[in-house]
């Protein structure tokens, strides 16, 4: 108790109310922690007092970051919109695979506070929803004083690399393009924080016209920064009739096995087996119209 009484806080908390104020403040304090839901930061520190850096910018009241806007072609989600609110928007607006992925994050109470921006800005992890973001061609808006840029997610958070945020730059919006998919699947295997060595998330999207695959994408993400996606396998599948013939399947599985063999230093044998099985399951779900 005595130790607790002596405790002196070393953090300065700032609470800007609009984007201009936030960007100006962050340009002066580029090492500050941008804080909103805080679910990941606090979950990583299961102790009585949270360790915070010297400067914390709480963006909870920045109105621009809490908006959802919809156009004919895409959905723009503010980086500080809670995941629970995105789910409330409904499945007729949010793509089904994304809806499933977001529903699988934490508990309802955690989803009420966790945000998409926070989910994307964890530097050393790609989290369970990354595979879906990647396949949906999500773009992110990054802003700093005097500049704004939209970049695709695979450039912002390239596999096996830390996220691409410049000094004083803040992730402000996430753009989800609308596209029609005949099949959207999402699976999460094991819990990413409890069992990181076995954890995998899988997303598969496909378009089938007159029993022919016209577009197909699939990706697996681990609890680190490794993401498995093979454009070669995807291209190989486009133009094939569904259900894919067993002989053709064997060729495709060989291609996938070759890719996985190259990632043996980053994937456990168990994860490799899981990717092979779930890919098989995904192809098996492609059926004639």
């Amino acid at each position: 108790m005595a130790e607790e009484r002596k405790r002196v806080s070393r953090s300065n908390i700032y609470a800007p109310t609009n984007l201009a104020e936030l960007l100006s403040l962050y340009s002066k304090l580029p090492s500050a922690l941008i804080y909103n839901g805080g679910t990941h930061i606090l979950r990583e520190q299961p102790r009585k007092y949270v360790q915070l850096p010297a400067n914390v910018i709480n963006v909870h009241r920045v109105q621009e970051l809490g908006k959802i806007t919809r156009t004919e072609r895409h959905l723009d989600i503010g980086a500080a919109v809670p995941i629970g609110r995105i789910l409330e928007v409904g499945s007729n607006v949010v793509p089904q695979a994304l809806q499933q992925a977001l529903s699988s994050i934490g508990t309802p109470a955690v989803r009420n506070w966790a945000t998409l921006g926070g989910n994307l800005c964890i530097p050393d992890r790609r989290m369970s929803t990354f595979a879906v973001y990647l396949l949906l061609d999500i773009q992110v808006e990054l802003r700093k004083v005097g500049s704004a840029r939209w970049i695709p997610l695979n450039r912002f958070a390239a596999p096996d690399r830390k996220i691409d945020l410049q000094r004083g730059e803040v992730l402000t919006r996430i753009r989800i393009p609308f596209a029609t998919w005949d099949l959207q699947v999402y699976q999460k295997m094991d819990r990413e924080l409890q069992d990181p060595n076995n954890f995998l998330s899988f997303c598969g999207l496909a378009r089938v016209q007159r029993d022919v695959i016209t577009d197909i994408r699939f990706a697996c993400a681990t609890s680190g920064t490794t993401v498995v996606r093979s454009r070669e396998v995807e291209t190989e599948l486009v133009g094939r009739r569904v259900p894919v013939a067993p002989r053709e399947l064997a060729t495709i599985h060989e291609l996938l096995d070759g890719l996985l063999a190259g990632l043996s230093d980053r994937l456990s044998g168990f994860q490799v087996g899981r990717i092979q099985s779930i890919f098989r399951w995904f192809l098996g779900r492609l059926s004639p119209e």
Partner: protein, 161 residues
Amino acid sequence: MNINFSLNGKNVSVDVEPEKRMVDVLRENFQLTRTKAGCYAGACGVCSVLAGGRLACSCLMPAFTARGAEIVTIEGYSRSREYADILKAFLEAEYYPCEYCSAGRILAIEALLTEHPDPSESEILTGMSGITCQCANYTSLVKAVEIAAFARKMRRRGRRT
């Protein structure tokens, strides 16, 4: 750091370190001890409170995030008619949660019924999935939530159940 917020309908002010978790602020600074401290990782749900009407794990809220917020704990909620409905539903469904998780469960039911006034079984199970205490069975929990939902609906229609 001085933090002003609304707690159970009253405006309060407290001088705490911004790094202190809300669950400890509630328990130590306000003696609201029916909100329990559990895992400090948002996994067990026993520290649940309503913040701005939304269910929140108070262990995942550093004190500074409460500034200007409206926080309702089980002590504040227990003054409402809806609380009485939920307790009655527990008895009727023979659902007896332990003292450790009951506050979290009741507030999770409140949040669930606010969002889904007539919840399906799967919505109930999803809504209650944040409280991981294994003290009571889920069949009677589902029944209890359905009874509480019905009681609330009847109350809103101005009838007696």
